[in-house]
């Protein structure tokens, strides 16, 4: 059975297409459209042009999903859309014109999705997972790995930009202010200091953009397929981005759609580097979409989907799940806690074998929208 998940973030819209069977879930296609919704906001309202852009990108990704023979297509959005004032109107128009319902997921669930998708990195020494988003920051201790330990900070890179940066790129004074603000926020969230984490695992599109810029600046090619960032070179990059004439070319050539996010992102990462005593940063290719899909397959998420083959909608609408979702979350958290020992072997297996897919083997089909009966016929589980 093929599934697709489309993620609407503040600076891009991305797609994964996956094939899931009894044994494993394999990502067979990825795509990303660089659309900075920020440019299409009028105050806190997404303009008609912004809605058009969003719809155009979603239609392309729906078409791609159909070409791959996807049955169930999920669209998720984190804070990017949730915070806009005409969120409900946008959601309604998008569904009317694309046939795709949008699932809005909260910060903790986003962090949990990141965690689920990146269990492999728990094998790294003292690893912490970081997703720097436009409207929120998610931080997750990969060793503890339960939902309660996941931190979702109520500010994102765009908020930092608005609050501290007068022009488009930060200057040195603004960088200092951002660093102080971030450390204060980390203190408020009781995030640890010094030598607690040695590996920082970055997930999310902005972090990939940061890596691309870093690799271009430092002229680095990954020999073993692992994307790593070293502190000394990264520090030089941050200095370069604070004043050198070529900084805009560097961003323009690598991630123009992240224009407003790169400056704050690099400053926050540098702050984390120092605060946590991190020795290296690694960049993960797996993030919230992969995690969300796994939760769907495990029955821990039951968002709305579009059945592309039947051209029908299914699942539980957002409004209807507002309260139950809380209960569900609690249940899920409870399950998480109860299932700690149950999950651990999979985690251990992943650690030992260094294989991301192994962690997905726990993705049994019980939560899938429809499942394959023994005789091959499909039965709805909804």
């Amino acid at each position: 059975m093929k599934y697709s998940v489309i993620d609407i973030s503040s600076s891009s819209i991305s797609l994964i297409v996956a094939e899931a069977d009894e044994r494993k879930t394999e990502i067979i296609f990825k795509d990303r459209a660089s659309i900075s919704l920020l440019h299409y906001l009028d105050g806190k309202t997404l303009t008609e042009r912004g809605i058009e852009k969003l719809i155009d990108a979603l239609k392309v990704m729906k078409d791609e999903s159909e070409k791959f023979g996807v049955k169930y297509c999920y669209v998720i959005s984190t804070a990017a859309l949730r915070v806009i004032e005409n969120c409900d109107e946008v959601s309604k128009i998008v569904t009317e014109r694309t046939g795709l319902p949008i699932n809005f997921i909260d910060g903790k669930t986003e962090a949990f999705c990141d965690y689920i998708a990146n269990l492999y990195y728990a094998s790294y020494e003292k690893a912490v997972l970081v997703d720097l988003g436009g409207k929120s920051l998610e931080i997750c201790d990969l060793i503890k790995g339960n939902k309660d330990d996941m931190v979702c900070l109520d500010f994102g890179l765009l908020d930092i930009h608005r609050k501290f940066i007068k022009k488009i790129q930060p200057n040195e004074k603004e960088a200092k202010d951002i660093k102080k603000y971030a450390n204060d926020k980390f203190d408020d969230a009781n995030l640890p200091k010094k030598e607690v984490f040695s590996t920082l695992v970055m997930v999310g599109a902005t972090n990939h953009a940061v890596y691309d810029i870093y690799a271009d600046y430092a002229d680095i090619r990954s020999d073993d397929g692992v994307k790593r960032i070293e502190y000394k070179k990264f520090k030089k990059l941050v200095e370069h981005l604070l004043g050198d004439a070529e900084r805009s070319t560097l961003i323009l050539n690598n991630a123009p759609e992240k224009l407003y996010l790169i400056g704050p992102a690099t400053i926050i990462l540098k702050t984390m580097f120092k605060r946590f005593g991190v020795r290296q940063i690694v960049v993960s290719d797996r993030g919230v979409k992969e995690g969300y899909l796994q939760l769907v397959l495990e029955g821990k998420e039951s968002g709305m989907y579009c059945d592309l083959q039947e051209n029908t909608l299914g699942g539980t609408p957002r409004e209807a799940t507002a309260e139950p979702a809380k209960q569900k979350k609690n249940k899920s958290e409870k399950k998480s806690k109860e299932g700690e020992t149950e999950k651990s072997p999979a985690k251990e297996e992943a650690k030992e074998e260094g294989c991301a897919e192994k962690t997905e083997e726990s993705g049994k089909k019980r939560g899938r929208p429809k499942k394959q009966a023994a005789d091959g016929s499909e039965t709805s589980s909804k």
Partner: protein, 355 residues
């Protein structure tokens, strides 16, 4: 508010119509506005030159070809190279501030937009306008200057056709378009070309020869082939542009059209001639479509600027005038899709693409 306008890159029809519309909108709708022209494109901004644009400068230029502001090419890759202690980008930003500009309109093609994005990233308020006869700016259905160039190229092919028919020749008409084949494709279809060769669909000389021979064998007395200047042989696809030029120079040919004309004559035995339209396609008065489009785009861009919307470029999407973020389109090109509607249509009426 103080507005600056510059035109950059190769000229085309409609530039003056855009300048006029920007000025008229500002004159009508923005109180205490000042408008200055920046000469020679980014070159003028690098040097810090400007001159006031008054009513008499822009009121009578709607149908005039070229640009009253003059233009020049400033390669993007040179923008951040330090020269005498500062880069061109730094000098442009300094001059933008020194001139006291509140907004800069940049009229140009893909390269101009990339530099405009750079200026925007460095804190200048920029609004772009999509100018090019190539129609290859990402995110807009059409650019101003394109339709006039299509008209010119179509008429040229029409005229060449009478010679081709009279002499029973195969005629190759080389049309502008290095990366994108929109102009060749549109003019080729509009002028009834038998074959269209564009950069997006690498062609085989064998297929072209077979096509011409088959047509003649079926009784056609002459053949018209529209060739984009950037058309590539399938065998040369892997080469870089510089390598392609080297290979052609080694063969004693300057363009792919010349190469094809020689091979076609030799292999098919039919008299073959080539004609390069060149700068004819850029100059002259804009057609009515371009005058209207340029006016609408210019007025809309001025409206965006007056409302404080910067870092964007005006665009056409589905017959509506709208905008795209500069950073979203910078460095991207809109190319002909080899399996797109218009190519499929052309194939369905028997037009060959050399594949």
């Amino acid at each position: 508010m103080k507005f600056g306008i510059l035109t950059s890159g190769g000229d085309c029809s409609g530039l003056n119509a855009v300048i006029r519309a920007i000025c008229l909108y500002i004159e009508q709708n923005v109180k205490n506005a000042e408008i200055v022209g920046i000469p020679d494109g980014y070159g003028g901004l690098i040097r810090g030159e400007s001159f006031p644009l008054k009513q008499e400068d822009f009121s009578d230029i709607l149908d005039r070809g070229g640009t009253i502001l003059r233009t020049s090419r400033q390669p993007f890759k040179m923008m951040t190279v330090a020269e005498n202690g500062s880069s061109r980008l730094q000098r442009m930003c300094e001059n933008y501030r020194r001139m006291g500009l509140d907004c800069l309109f940049t009229l140009g093609g893909a390269g101009t937009h990339k530099t405009a994005a750079l200026l925007s990233m460095e804190g200048c308020n920029v609004v772009g306008l999509p100018k090019t006869i190539d129609n290859d700016i990402y995110g807009t259905d059409v650019t101003f200057g394109f339709q006039t160039a299509v008209e010119v190229a179509t008429e040229a092919i029409d005229r060449i056709r009478t010679t081709a028919a009279s002499h029973g020749r195969t005629m190759l008409i080389e049309i502008m378009g290095n990366k994108a084949g929109w102009l060749t494709l549109h003019a080729g279809i509009a002028a009834g070309a038998d074959m269209i060769l564009i950069p997006e669909i690498p062609f085989s000389v064998d297929r072209v020869c077979d096509f011409v021979a088959a047509q003649r064998g079926a009784g056609k007395a002459y053949t018209i082939i529209a060739v984009a200047e950037g058309a590539v042989l399938a065998s040369e696809v892997k080469f870089k542009k510089s390598e392609r030029v080297f290979v052609r120079t080694e063969r004693g040919e300057s363009t792919v059209t010349q190469h094809l004309a020689e091979v076609l004559q030799e292999r098919t035995g039919y008299e073959t001639r080539s004609s390069v339209l060149g700068y004819l396609q850029r100059g002259g008065t804009p057609c009515a479509f371009d005058r209207l489009l340029s006016s609408r785009l210019g007025g809309y861009a001025a409206q965006l600027a007056a409302s404080g919307k910067f870092g964007v470029t005006a665009a056409v999407a589905g017959n509506r005038i709208t905008f795209n973020a500069l950073t979203e389109i910078a460095g991207k090109y809109k190319l002909v899709a080899p399996d797109g509607d218009i190519v499929r249509f052309a194939k369905s009426i028997g037009i060959g693409f050399g594949v």
